[in-house]
């Protein structure tokens, strides 16, 4: 808190307008080593109990925000670990996916059983042909 702000708070204190919370904050601010004599007078008026309570509350607040920070750090670390794990899993498994792929009339089929059934049907159809189809004859110059 800047000196001007402390002085404004002192004026507010003397007018009886400060809250208990503001008085605790003021008690802490007045502990500066280079505090002017007037500040020491106000510090005396606020009393040891106000300063003690302010220091107690400050310690508990600091401890609570440290805990919050640790909890956040752990959450962030866990999220990163989860993301990395998911990435590795996806990378490793990408080659396992779509092992059986077939396009039938422009439609992609990935179900292994369906692909096998279609393949078998096509193969048996080819073996059952007495003549090669016209487009294949043309393609491979099978005269």
């Amino acid at each position: 808190m800047k000196t001007e702000e402390v002085n404004k708070l002192i004026d507010k204190y003397l007018e009886g307008l400060t809250s208990a919370q503001e008085e605790k904050r003021l008690a802490l601010e007045l502990q500066r080593e280079d505090a002017p004599e007037e500040w020491k007078v106000i510090s005396m008026m606020l009393g040891e109990l106000t300063l003690g309570e302010a220091l107690y509350d400050q310690t508990l607040e600091q401890r609570s925000s440290r805990r919050k920070f640790l909890r956040l750090s752990w959450t962030a670390a866990a999220s990163v670990a989860l993301l990395v794990g998911w990435g590795i899993h996806s990378y490793v498994n990408q080659y396992d996916q779509d092992v059986a792929v077939m396009y039938v009339n422009g439609q992609k089929i990935t179900d292994e059983k369906q692909v096998m059934a279609q393949s078998t049907a096509v193969v048996s159809e080819i073996f059952n042909l007495s003549e090669a189809p016209g487009d294949l004859v043309e393609l491979f110059n099978m005269e």
Binding site: L14, E37, E38, G47, G52, Y56
Partner: protein, 169 residues
């Protein structure tokens, strides 16, 4: 408040004070020590406490103060040799000289408070010792909030002038 009345209060106050100690130290032994210190201080001071005062609010503030002082004493006890001292392990507990100065300051403050009218002094102390908000004081005393505020302001300004006369030359 008479010692007998205070003894009855002890049963109500003890668990509350203990909780304050436990929140601060997380150690039952330290919390017990802080509770003992608090009760001793209140016991020594109880004859100066009016029965209509909020003893619970006062006890809580004294307890918090005792926790902070006990922690300082512990830091002093476990202080490493001077060569190993860092800014985190410096001793902030008052030296005998500082304690003497504090006592002197208390006396000066008491002299300054003597200039207040009884009602003003009572309101000043309700705020300073029990940490009550203006609204709470108004509710407790039956005085309108605006009047409480202006009486506290007048009391503070008188004490401030009085202390300035005595302390700043």
């Amino acid at each position: 408040m008479e010692k007998e009345t205070f003894q009855k209060w002890v049963f109500t106050l003890r668990p509350k004070i203990m909780k304050i100690g436990l929140d601060y130290f997380s150690s039952t032994d330290d919390a017990e020590d802080a509770t003992q210190d608090t009760l001793i201080q209140l016991w020594c001071y109880c004859e100066h406490i009016d029965e209509d005062r909020n003893i619970e609010a006062l006890a809580i503030r004294v307890a918090k103060n005792c926790c902070v002082n006990l922690k300082r004493k512990q830091q002093h006890y476990f202080l490493p040799p001077e060569s190993e001292m860092t800014e985190h392990t410096q001793d902030f507990s008052p030296s005998p000289q500082e304690e003497m100065e504090q006592e002197e300051e208390r006396q000066i403050l008491n002299q300054a408070l003597a200039v207040l009218k009884p009602r003003e002094r009572s309101l000043f102390e309700m705020r300073q010792q029990e940490g009550l908000e203006t609204g709470e004081i108004a509710q407790k005393t039956g005085i309108p909030k605006a009047s409480v505020q202006s009486m506290i302001s007048a009391a503070r300004k008188k004490v401030y002038q009085e202390l300035k006369k005595r302390m700043i030359r």
